[in-house]
């Protein structure tokens, strides 16, 4: 292997090097265009769902019975040329059912789509991120333990087989049965359900991460720097945290990307089956699910939530790419 001394060599020591590790990571991250756009989009969405409801103060649960099934305002463009302008200025008289009161339209019982999207975003993002975090935590933990400690490898991998084989639905039903009451009384009905759902999704989706991480750890364990760490008497806990974990970040990052998408979609399937949030609680998955039957008449009801889910997943994917590069000192250094 070539020793690349020339480029790496440090004749003039740049002041930048003294800024510390995180500044470096950020500097590298900034050079990844996809990651930059991705995080911009992601932060915008987060900010919108966090603060949007304070600006667009319509209650997402409020049903405006007089204006059910209102189209989104852009539906004006479906009109003949001459009527488009007047449709925007005075929507009440237009040939399509639009109004500025509900710029993105309403659903079949008159709830404001914009408000529901904003509010639903909070839940979906929270569920997606938390469930992903739980799955990652579990997966990484089990993967590392079974890769690192040979003795528990077999049992842990069989446990993984077991979880892969468990049918999700009965498992969730059992969880709801066992814990809903207790959690509801401790955290309120919504908080309780949130914890249940997030744990349910997390508990049933850690297995791929565990397998991938284990594979990497098995290889990593044989690397010489691990032996070197052993030669100075490093304890297993610190060994894992310092030497193993940082070096398996990249597959974990990929799992994170896919995990968010899976969690958001699983949540929608759960509410669809009645295991999810209370019915008047919008989430993107549920909006998409509810909207499917209206797809032909009111395509916006699926387009908005569908696009938002995809955009979140895409942006997380690009952020993950950028972060992976940025966290790798080798790439960062160049």
């Amino acid at each position: 292997m070539t020793d690349q001394t020339a480029t790496a060599d440090p004749a003039p020591i740049k002041a930048a090097k003294e800024r510390g590790q995180w500044a470096d990571v950020w500097a590298q991250f900034r050079t990844h265009k996809g990651a930059l756009i991705g995080s911009g989009v992601f932060l915008t969405i987060v900010a919108t769902v966090l603060f949007g409801p304070y600006i667009w103060t319509v209650d997402p649960g409020y049903q405006d019975f007089r204006s059910r099934n209102v189209r989104h305002i852009l539906a004006c463009f479906s009109l003949p040329w001459g009527e488009i302008a007047s449709c925007f200025t005075s929507p009440d008289t237009a040939a399509v059912n639009v109004t500025w009161v509900h710029p993105l339209g309403t659903d079949n019982i008159g709830r404001d789509t914009l408000a529901r999207l904003l509010f639903g975003g909070r839940i979906s993002m929270a569920v997606g991120l938390t469930a992903m975090a739980i799955a990652l935590l579990l997966g990484t933990l089990i993967g590392i333990l079974s890769g690192y400690f040979r003795r528990i490898d077999g049992p842990l991998m069989r446990l993984t087989d077991l979880f892969l084989a468990l049918p999700l639905l009965p498992l969730l039903l059992v969880m709801v049965l066992l814990f809903r009451e207790r959690l509801s009384s401790a955290f309120g009905p919504e908080g309780g359900i949130f914890i249940l759902i997030v744990c349910g999704i997390g508990i049933t989706s850690w297995m791929p991460t565990a397998r991938i991480v284990r594979g990497d750890v098995l290889a990593l364990k044989e690397r010489e720097f691990v032996l070197a760490a052993r030669s100075i008497g490093t304890r297993p806990a610190r060994m894992i945290l310092r030497h193993v974990l940082p070096n398996v970040m990249s597959p974990i990052m990929v799992s994170a990307t896919l995990g968010i998408a899976t969690a958001i979609i699983t949540e929608s399937a759960l509410s669809f089956l009645g295991l999810g949030f209370p019915p008047d609680f919008p989430t993107w998955g549920r909006l998409l699910n509810d909207g499917v039957q209206y797809m032909q008449q009111y395509p916006e009801r699926v387009v908005w939530p569908g696009a938002l889910i995809s955009v979140v997943v895409l942006s997380v994917n690009y952020i993950g790419d950028g972060l992976r590069d940025a966290l790798d000192p080798r790439i960062r250094g160049l």
Partner: protein
């Protein structure tokens, strides 16, 4: 490797027994009642009698034991009988007639042997879900290879974009979209899958293809998205390796270099992923089957779950667990076949 395989197979037996026990207890613990779908007009005492007729009155260990006996003793006998009687493979052997009319695993919903129904569902599951998987893999591999070979090209960027979208759109949405477009608007394909359709000649084959196109498309999108990502990452890892340069220095064509030298090395993780996806073919695709009315094993499983048909759910889940354990093993073995460096110890 053989000893490794045998050892793994031996440990698989207790694993599977344990898994089936856990699934059984889980289903036992889950709320729900096989009588839930019986109309409310049927009086409760009648429902109670119906439950007893299903054997629900017996204690839990007895029921698990009975299931074990039926599953591992009675059903194999039926299977062997069938093999020696009707199958083309061993049909020439004398009929073994092992099965003496013992109780088989009986579905609560249909009151018929669970295995018969599963066997009945297999063809369409394999045709649609299996085909989708095969096609998904076949598309994913070249996409992954090209995007890695031309990293950051337009092709690669578009590939990333499409596969991430494909991954984030649930089939309950994409399925309806293709139905609306191709069945309703264009009228090209039927929206409902005919499971009784038999392929006997070219015409019926065309019909079969046309009814498979949409479900296969929707399912393949997901497979493609996932596997092409893995393929790309793995190819990228290998394209920079020194042996690639060696192959070029030997004067090999680019095609040989990429498709023989790099591909075989890159296949190792991809094959694992592919092999681990195979059990899900047999498990069916719950939502997609539902949307296209394919009524394969996925639909069987979900209807059984909804009807709390415990023997059916348990058996399907067990078969699924069996396949997972089996294909995990196959993946490990394949790993060794592909990469001679891998040792089993």
């Amino acid at each position: 490797m053989l000893t490794f395989t045998i050892r793994r197979l031996l440990t698989a037996v207790p694993t599977l027994l344990f898994i089936s026990l856990v699934i059984f207890l889980l289903l036992e613990l889950a709320p729900g009642d096989p009588m839930a779908q019986v109309p409310l007009t049927v009086p409760p005492e009648v429902k109670q009698r119906m439950r007893e007729a299903l054997g629900l009155g017996e204690p839990v260990p007895v029921r698990f034991y009975k299931w074990l006996v039926q599953m591992f003793w009675v059903e194999p006998k039926v299977f062997i009988d069938w093999m020696t009687r009707d199958s083309w493979l061993l049909g020439w052997l004398p009929d073994t007639a092992l099965y003496g009319g013992e109780q088989r695993v009986i579905s609560w919903q249909t009151r018929s042997p669970v295995m018969d129904i599963i066997v009945q569902r297999l063809p369409q599951t394999l045709w649609v879900v299996g085909m989708a998987y095969v096609i998904g893999v076949l598309i994913a591999l070249p996409i992954g290879i090209i995007s890695a070979y031309r990293q950051y090209s337009v092709f690669d960027q578009v590939g990333t974009f499409v596969s991430m979208i494909g991954f984030s759109i649930p089939p309950f949405f994409s399925g309806v979209v293709v139905i609306v477009i191709f069945s309703v608007q264009l009228g090209w394909f039927p929206s409902i899958y005919d499971t009784t359709h038999r392929v006997v000649d070219w015409e019926t084959f065309k019909v079969q293809i046309s009814q498979m196109v949409m479900p296969v498309m929707v399912l393949a999108l997901q497979t493609t998205a996932q596997i092409s990502r893995f393929m790309r990452a793995s190819m990228l890892d290998n394209l920079g390796q020194d042996y690639v340069r060696t192959a070029r220095a030997k004067g090999m064509r680019e095609r040989t270099v990429v498709l023989i030298h790099v591909l075989r090395n890159s296949m190792i993780p991809v094959v694992t992923v592919i092999a681990l996806g195979v059990p899900s073919i047999f498990g069916g695709a719950i939502i997609t089957e539902q949307i296209f009315k394919v009524n394969g094993i996925g639909q069987l499983f979900i209807t059984a779950l909804q009807a709390n048909d415990l023997p059916m759910v348990l058996t399907v889940a067990f078969i699924f667990a069996f396949l997972i354990v089996l294909f995990n093993l196959i993946a490990d073995v394949l790993y060794g076949v592909l990469d001679p460096r891998i040792r089993y110890d």
